[in-house]
Symmetry: C2
Subunit: 338 residues, 2 copies
DNA sequence: TAGAATAACTTAAACGGTTAAGTTAATATG
DNA sequence: CATATTAACTTAACCGTTTAAGTTATTCTA
């Protein structure tokens, strides 16, 4: 006895239409070789029965899966979530579906992801990887599946990659402070291993240089990207009693910590000290004072990567491998002219 | 000429090992019927070649796909992103992979998602749907694929659902204010169609009742869940010149707007007016003063749903269909005793 | 009007696995 | 020692499609 709830197959449709399953397949794929009448009859039956071809079988028989893998360190991070949205906007418009893989920077899970990518399900991959090992990249290349890296720190020609121009962002932030008349500008680093903080710092240096402001190592401190880190970093800065009128923090969280520390010392922001952050997180519009900061083009990061992947999937071989996206200055109330 | 880069199949392994592909399959699936030597030889060859079975073929041949679909209104929303993380934690541990579907509350995309769910790829579905139409639910049921709803407002026995106990949360917030001695407590609603705000309001009413505080309609205002909405709602409240010593806002964003409005009127938080929010968004720890609020068990929402789905997938038929998760009071600095 | 070309199909071989059923040789049983 | 049982395979059908190759009947061409 046949199970009633069994899903309809192409055979059922063929039987109902009184043709072979080959004919149904041609109709399904809009290929020639079927008369108008048969085509219409088959389509009608398909419609009536609500038949949908089994994608697994289609994919196995050589058709595409339309699956794109997204490997990502942490989904709950707004930064990555927004990138995903950017990716999704482009890919879903082109008929692709998204598969999510969290690695949590866990090598074991990373291997699992590889094994999966290697099983024929996915056509292309977008890798969001803050920390990337050489081994990972070589493995990805071996897979022979088109892929693009997001937020990839290196400028090599082995992989396609899209990243934010952190140096330009750092330059922009510093130049802005300089344009407001500041010349004693402190910088608060993120964590030691953080390459993005490093690039922002380079932008800071380049801006100082451009405007002939001598670099003062005493104005450099280091946090860890957290509010507490920024707080401590600023306290340290204060303890050297080196004067400054502005601070550029490598991210917004540290800027909040710095502002808290300043307030505790009786210093007002921006009246006594100007503070600029980086990232433009949600809280920076809500804080007191609203934080002037550098906005990363996060959605764009996803969109550009998706567009590149789309071109790779269609067989193109792009000459440019490395894409750098520009940041934007968001002027709010935490900086002012001196 | 065979293409060199062609992926290895079970046939290749069989040939290399000098056995039939059936034997290889038995080894692959840890089934009996193969001698120790053959098993070891095959495993060694598989290891050496880095062979991975094609999941499409496996799935088609009756094995599972291990795919779970996640349908979600907006990935870039932290709320949903966190739920996903909760889901991912549980499901990936159990060998499942996640497929993401954004509907953007767009009926056309919704239909696309359905068509996809209907093609044999996914074994189960978790639907995060703030606005749900009856039609959608009936379609889901027709699909015969196990599914659970997250953040589902209704209490019916047709579908499995997990939601936050908003009423209990509203009660908790209000009771907390009452415990601090407040009796004139204003409430700011979210948008009109928002059922979660409605439930929070019911909790507010229940708390008033429990402590014999008469309900005063003049203390109720309505925002739209945004900071601006909260700002306006509070201004309206103020314009009635009805006295209050505390405000319960249906979400944190509105609480920030309310605090801004209060400050403009020269009222201090919490010295003159206590403010409590709902959601515990990131900014509420960073604001001035740090906002006392009600935390939703967001990760848990994802985890519980995933666990339920897991049980459904294993064929269980759970007696409870509706799961309500408790909120938690986060005491910070925006409320104080009167 | 015979032969070629074409339209409209059908047939069957793939795709890469799983698995029930069949085969063979070795071992156990009475 | 003949027979039943079992272990260790092999064989082939099957999953639900696509598609190249084969088959007709019809139309076109010379």
């Amino acid at each position: 006895m046949k199970k009633l709830k069994d899903k309809l197959t192409i055979n059922d449709i063929a039987k109902l239409a009184g043709v072979s399953k080959g004919a149904v397949s041609y109709v399904l794929n809009n290929k020639p070789g079927v008369s108008k009448e048969v085509r219409e009859r088959v389509l009608r039956i398909i419609e009536e029965c609500g038949y949908k071809p089994n994608k697994l079988a289609q994919a196995l028989a050589g058709k595409r899966t339309n699956f794109i893998a997204l490997v990502i360190p942490d989904i709950s991070d707004v930064f990555y979530a927004k990138i995903i949205k950017g990716v999704e906007r482009i890919l879903s418009k082109n008929g692709y579906f998204l598969n999510l893989y969290s690695t949590h920077a866990n090598p074991e899970k990373e291997q699992e992801v590889f094994d999966f990518l290697n099983t024929g399900f996915v056509e292309g991959t977008i890798v969001m990887a803050y920390h990337i090992e050489k081994k990972f990249i070589d493995k990805m290349i071996d897979l022979k599946i088109p892929f693009v890296f997001i937020d990839y720190p290196y400028d090599d020609d082995k992989v396609y990659s899209v990243a934010v121009d952190n140096e330009e962002g750092g330059f922009k932030a510093t130049e802005y402070l300089i344009s407001l008349g500041h010349r004693k500008i402190a910088f608060i680093h993120g964590s030691k291993e953080a390459w993005d903080s490093e690039f922002r710092f380079r932008g800071y240096l380049r801006a100082l240089e451009k405007y002939d402001i001598p670099f003062n190592a005493k104005l450099i401190s280091r946090g860890d990207f957290t509010k507490e880190g920024g707080y401590k970093a600023l306290k340290e800065l204060l303890s050297t009693s080196e004067e400054f009128t502005a601070i550029f923090c490598a991210n917004d969280h540290m800027a909040f910590g710095a502002i808290k520390a300043l307030k505790e010392e009786g210093l007002r922001v921006p009246e006594d000290v100007s503070v600029i952050g980086f990232d433009n997180i949600e809280a920076s519009a809500l804080s007191n004072p609203p934080l002037t900061t550098i906005m990363q083009p996060i959605y764009q990061l996803g969109e550009v990567s998706a567009k590149i992947l789309l071109r790779l999937l269609s067989g193109e071989n792009l000459e440019t491998k490395r894409y750098l996206l520009k940041t934007q200055l968001i002027e709010r109330k935490s900086c002012r002219k001196v």
